[in-house]
Amino acid sequence: MKTLKEVTCGSTVNVVRIHGEGAVRRRIMDMGITKHTEIYVRKVAPLGDPIEVTVRGYELSLRQSDCEMIEVE
């Protein structure tokens, strides 16, 4: 299973499924990361975490630990 955490900067991926549960998972989906959504990994913060992605035309910041919940292809 490939997760968003493993995606390198500058690439675009498609969401397969969101794993995990509860508030964080719901927030990720509420922010527009749902099945089949396109995510562009824009950059990594200076200290390596979090990362910045473009989704549905806007900028979103995600922690690496939360990226593990997002399965992509």
């Binding site: 499924r17 969101i18 509860g22 508030a23 964080v24 998972r25 719901r26 927030r27 990720i28 989906m29 509420d30 922010m31 527009g32 749902t34 099945k35 089949h36 959504t37 950059k43 990594v44 913060a45 200076p46 200290l47 390596g48 975490d49 979090p50 910045e52 549905r56 035309g57 806007y58 900028e59 979103l60 910041s61 995600l62 922690r63 939360d66």
Partner: protein, 709 residues
């Protein structure tokens, strides 16, 4: 007739600007019942008086109506239980897709609604087009184009909102695809009469989402619950996804279809101005230096230069030279009793003055914070610093309060306002004042000079103690039940940069600053008067009077009573205890009180005259223990007032003060007891207790994190 209109929208959608435009200066802020979320209300412009009055209720900025965050729960509770006559839903036209997600959920509440598409000026500038008529048709409610910042379209929005509210036609939710619709009606059928009649759909969808709050509210029987559960599971299997995802995806699908219908996107150039700024500001190499520079500027201007010049002026010149002497002279000239003169001039005016002295600093600081927030840099600060701070349960934004804290704890605590997550904010408030503020510097200078020969390591060690206290407190507190629970999601939007609006900035500075002034007038004033009274009055020659010699004051008596508490810390002398109490009014008083109590009268700021006396009364370890206690214990009344204001809960206020004092006591105890044991070899009960405290501390630090059920 009074109409209530709820204003709902995402954070960064321009909601605050629109609220200000809708209500003008006619606003009142409070809190939602039972929680610390701020509630703002105002009378709609042009509908303040007369036959129809319209109240606008500003809901918290939210992305969804999920049951997970406090803001979202507050909002949906208001919408469903209070049933306002209409909703004004503001959406950011430059980010329609994500913004309309909330819209789809607001529609489900059935409350009459009007959608205001904000930032239309920017949409047009980007040469993008919005087909308003089509959008109205798709959404099934009136849509008004506005620019809240430029106050365009506001009158039309007001007109539309009022007429929608008056018509009182319930709004209809957007329909899902056939399959999902049949699932929802199947659930409705199963639940039958249990669903509230006016809006069964909303509840059915929530039940399908397995929304715990709604399921609880409906009080389903065990067998019915099981039946529904089994049904949902079968649907989930069919979709190969869980119900929450199914609904979320379906909502976004509705939006995609709608946007395809009515929005003409122009292929945006990949580098907008915002992108170009971000390429530099959050650049891997440049981000930290730029951040350091911005922080230095904020600190330099608001704490060391402009802020301190204004504060010194208020303290020394305005109050010290003008108001106090002239008030004293005025009271004397009308033959006022000496004690009353003292109470009014030194107690009341002096006390308020000590607090009001912080006001200029606070306003300057708030100006910076408002600009940083409004332009979009604040979100980047969290982005850059998150990695470091979340290890101790704090937020990336906690850096700002801590930096400001080296100047003054009061604005520092108030700067914590910018942290959205309740938990991170509380933790920041509890730990910020551990950083030595400028008023604690005289205490450091006194102890360093008197007991350590002015050694250069004492001052850095004070800062080191503060930082260690913050880090360890963060780690310990985040494992306690108080801070346990679901981790707050750090899935944060990085909004586009824009030039801050002067109006917004001043509005926010005024709102935040004035609330501190109000606090200064009440609780802080009272506490200050009490301590002043205690040090000014007492028994002299058998009569209760205003004392000449502070040794006879109530404070001295109280000091004697509580001195034993501090004996294990190595400074059980009542003078030191009394000095620590006066430190509550303002930390720099500690040195002054020592001066008075040891009979030196006025002393220099670092208490040079006292060094000889103090070195005979204290040992190196009792001195350092005294220093550490004063650094970490409850801050001055002004800062406590700020804590009370920001925590907005008596319980949390006492938890914060109690924790700080307990930590201070434990640290001082360990320093004195262990230090004395190592240097003199005297092993007492105190040494044992200190040992236990250290072991307990280490346990709290390394114990595994609570697993959340």
């Amino acid at each position: 007739m009074n109409i209530r209109i709820a204003l709902a929208g995402n954070p960064n959608s321009g909601k605050t600007t629109l609220f200000n435009a809708l209500t003008g200066s006619n606003q009142y802020t409070g809190n939602w019942p039972g929680v610390t979320v701020e509630k703002k209300e105002g009378k709609l412009k042009g509908y303040g008086k007369g036959e129809t009055t319209v109240t606008v209720v500003d809901l918290p900025g939210i992305y969804s109506l999920s049951p997970y965050t406090l803001e979202e729960v507050v909002s949906r509770k208001y919408l469903l239980e209070e049933k306002p006559e209409a909703i004004v839903n503001i959406v950011d036209g430059t980010n329609l897709e994500r913004n309309l997600y909330l819209t789809t959920q607001l529609k489900e509440t059935g409350i009459p609604m009007v959608t205001a598409v904000n930032m239309m000026d920017l949409v047009r500038k980007n040469k993008e087009e919005l087909n308003l008529a089509q959008m109205e048709k798709d959404l099934g409610c009136p849509v008004v184009e506005i620019s809240a910042l430029k106050e365009e379209g506001i009158d039309r929005l007001i007109e539309t909102a009022v007429s929608v509210a008056k018509k009182a036609e319930p709004s209809h939710r957007l329909v899902f695809d056939e399959k999902l619709e049949s699932v929802i009606s199947a659930i409705e059928k199963k639940l039958g009469g249990l669903l509230p009649q006016n809006n069964p759909d909303w509840y059915a969808i929530k039940v399908f989402e397995r929304d715990e709050k709604v399921v609880e509210q409906l009080c389903l029987t065990a067998s019915l619950k099981q039946e529904i559960d089994a049904y949902i599971s079968s649907v989930e299997k069919e979709y190969d996804d869980d119900s929450e995802s199914i609904i979320t995806s379906a909502r976004y699908h509705q939006i995609e279809t709608m946007i395809h219908d009515c929005y003409v996107k122009r292929n945006r150039q990949s580098d907008s101005i915002s992108d170009r700024i971000d390429r530099v500001v959050t650049n891997r190499i440049l981000a930290l230096p730029i951040f350091a520079l911005v922080m230095f500027l904020v600190y330099y201007v608001s704490v060391t230069t402009v802020g301190s010049i204004l504060t010194d002026f208020v303290n020394d010149t305005l109050f010290g030279e003008w108001i106090l002497p002239s008030a004293s002279a005025a009271l004397e000239s009308i033959g006022c009793a000496e004690w009353l003169n003292g109470l009014v001039v030194e107690g009341i005016i002096g006390g308020v003055g000590a607090v009001l002295g912080f006001v200029p600093q606070i306003f300057v600081l708030y100006l910076f914070l408002a600009v940083l927030e409004d332009c979009g840099y604040m979100a980047r600060i969290a982005f850059i610093m998150d990695r470091i701070f979340r290890r101790f349960g704090l937020s990336g934004k906690s850096f700002i309060p801590m930096l400001i804290g080296t100047g003054c704890g009061v604005p520092a605590i108030m700067a914590s306002r910018t942290i959205e997550q309740d938990r991170d904010r509380r933790m920041t408030i509890m730990t910020t004042t551990f950083i030595p503020c400028s008023a604690k510097l005289p205490i450091i200078a006194l102890i360093a000079g008197a007991l350590f020969d002015g050694a250069a390591w004492v001052a850095p060690s004070a800062y080191f103690t503060g930082i260690v206290a913050i880090v360890t407190s963060g780690i310990i507190l985040k494992k306690t039940r108080l801070f346990a629970g679901d981790p707050s999601p750090f899935v944060m939007e990085l909004p586009d940069y824009h030039i801050p609006s002067v109006k917004n900035v001043f509005h926010s500075v005024w709102e935040r600053g004035s609330s501190f002034v109000k606090k200064a007038g009440t609780i802080i004033l009272l506490s200050t008067i009490i301590v002043w009274f205690m040090q000014a009055f007492g028994f002299e020659n058998g009569v209760f009077t205003m004392v000449e010699d502070m040794n006879n004051s109530i404070l001295a008596m109280a000091g004697n009573c509580i001195a034993w508490i501090f004996t294990p810390l190595g400074w059980g002398d009542w003078k030191a205890a009394a000095a620590a109490v006066t430190g509550l009014v303002a930390k720099e008083n500690v040195v002054g009180t020592f001066g008075v109590l040891y009979g030196f009268g006025e002393v220099a700021e670092d208490g040079m005259e006292l060094w000889g006396t103090l070195s005979s009364e204290f040992t190196a370890f009792s001195g350092f223990s005294f220093l550490v206690f004063n650094l970490l214990c409850a801050p001055c009344f002004a800062a406590m007032g700020a804590i009370a204001r920001e925590m907005n809960s008596a319980m949390w206020f006492w938890i914060a003060i109690g924790y700080q004092t307990l930590l201070a006591y434990a640290c001082s105890l360990c320093i004195y007891q262990v230090g004395t044991w190592i240097t003199t070899g005297v092993f007492t009960l105190g040494t044992v207790i200190a040992g236990i405290a250290i072991i307990g501390f280490i346990y709290l630090l390394i114990r595994p994190e609570r697993k959340v059920a």
